[in-house]
Amino acid sequence: MLVKSSLKPCRWDLLVAGAVAALAVITGIVFYGAQTGGGALSAVITHRGTEVERIDLTRLTKETEITVSGVYTLHICADSAGIAVTQADCPTQDCVHTGRITRPGQSIVCLPEQVVIHLEGRSDDAPDVIVG
């Protein structure tokens, strides 16, 4: 009889089952929400292998100047929608020629000073690799 009664579902069992289901739904929302919740765009600047700046561009309210200096000096201009190297004294000027970037996955590279500016963010149509 005891065994039989313990198998009988009571309201607590229902509550536990409900809690598990609710937890699953909440975890799901958090997990998938974080993947698809668009809008966020961050610029990560690395200099000679070390991260020197990480800026949440979407939170910028005005144009922001960043300077990275070593052998050469790069003047970087960021705003809420994108980032560009506006002026540099490096010999090749590839970084300036690259122009302004605004999409997750894009980057600007200065080879002589070993600076990489990479845009991170969630976007459904961001490519995995860019060639060119």
Partner: protein, 361 residues
């Protein structure tokens, strides 16, 4: 009993719910970013051996740089160039095989890709601190040093049973020089592809300054989304390709160039026939080859992308007609057209492209 079944059913579905959340998460990806071989390299590895695969790849890339660099003392290429006009040197079998492959590519492309163009690249110095426009007489004199006939590699050793052969004799005529810059990164991408295969990765991407290799699939099991940069808009993509186990190499003059005092813009790819920066009617050439196509597909794509840029639209189209089973390509012309080969019809996404896209018949 019905209630017991219900309870077990509830437990199973709760467990299934929890499992589905973890199973759907993208497989773990390791990344590696390095400056090597005069470019910026970015590698991603998906799968349980990802970390080890990337460590091995980094060691391999550094080894290749030490072997093939023109600017590093003691590299095979530096020793060969230093020996020009002399009795020759012995090179590693690997370097000799790559030089032999470069010579093959020069023959196939009628000299549009030629590693002996180095003296002219130096004279122009377009990617250096001091670019300049050489005098016509200087260009003409240097042109006599360009051509596969100036480089001798002992082919017999390469065809011997011992692979790769230990030491291979090579010689270069006086005043000549070779630069493997147009093929070494492609070769490195082949080597990294071998490493990814050895570590049995489910996926990965390799981006070595314009040389891309995509291995397997993304963490979500889909083909990789490879975007070709729009040469006229730094912020846009010309088209996208959905690829697995494929190499994509793009050449163009739109990022590396210099403006002469008289206002003329010179891009960095020298035409070995004229000695001048190529005046191509193409702005971007992307070659696509497939790992299933055989050995050294990345190396070949690297050489071809340079060659077809130099050839221009008509030459590139004719070259593809003659070698159409070897590669696919995407050409962007100076007048705003984008041409692609039929082999890409199922993988290319032209929606939203700023170009008039058409298939090459």
């Amino acid at each position: 009993m019905r209630k017991l079944r219900l309870r077990i059913g509830a437990l199973v579905s709760a467990a299934a719910l929890a499992l589905s959340l973890t199973a759907c998460g993208a497989a773990k990806a390791e990344t590696l970013d390095i400056f090597a071989m005069d470019t910026y390299m970015s590698l991603v590895a998906v799968g349980s051996g990802g970390y080890d695969a990337l460590q091995t790849a980094a060691v391999e890339i550094n080894r290749l740089e030490a072997l093939l660099s023109r600017t590093k003392d003691g590299s095979d290429v530096s020793r060969l160039n230093a020996s020009a006009g002399g009795e020759g040197v012995t090179l590693s079998g690997e370097t000799a095989a790559l030089l032999a492959l470069a010579k093959d590519c020069a023959d196939r492309t009628a000299g549009a890709f030629d590693v002996t163009v180095a003296p002219l690249v130096d004279a122009w110095g377009i990617t250096t601190d001091t670019p300049r426009v050489p005098a016509q007489s200087e260009i003409e004199a240097l042109l006599t040093l360009v051509g596969g006939e100036h480089l001798t590699v002992d082919d017999s050793a390469l065809h011997s049973s011992q692979l790769p052969p230990e030491d291979v004799a090579a010689a270069l005529d006086a005043g000549c020089a070779v630069d493997l810059g147009g093929i070494a990164k492609g070769y490195a991408s082949d080597r990294v592809a071998d490493i990814f295969e050895k570590y049995q990765l489910t996926g990965g991407t390799v981006s070595l300054g314009g040389n891309v290799y995509v291995c397997g699939t993304t963490g979500e099991g889909k083909p990789w989304n490879v975007a070709i940069q729009d040469p006229n808009d730094s912020d846009g993509f010309a088209v996208r390709l959905r690829l697995s186990d494929a190499f994509v190499v793009t050449s163009g003059g739109y990022q590396r160039y210099f403006t002469a005092p008289d206002g003329t813009v010179y891009q960095h790819i020298i035409d070995p026939a004229t000695g001048y920066p190529a005046r191509s009617d193409l702005v971007s050439v992307s070659i696509v080859t497939y790992r299933a196509g055989g050995d050294r597909q990345g190396t070949m794509a690297d050489a071809y992308s340079t060659a077809l840029y130099v050839m221009g639209e008509a030459g590139a189209a004719a070259f593809w007609q003659a070698h159409r089973s070897d590669f696919d390509m995407v050409l962007i012309t100076g007048d705003g057209r984008l041409l692609y080969t039929p082999g890409l019809a199922d993988t290319i996404e032209t929606d939203g492209s700023a170009y008039a896209c058409q298939v090459i018949a």
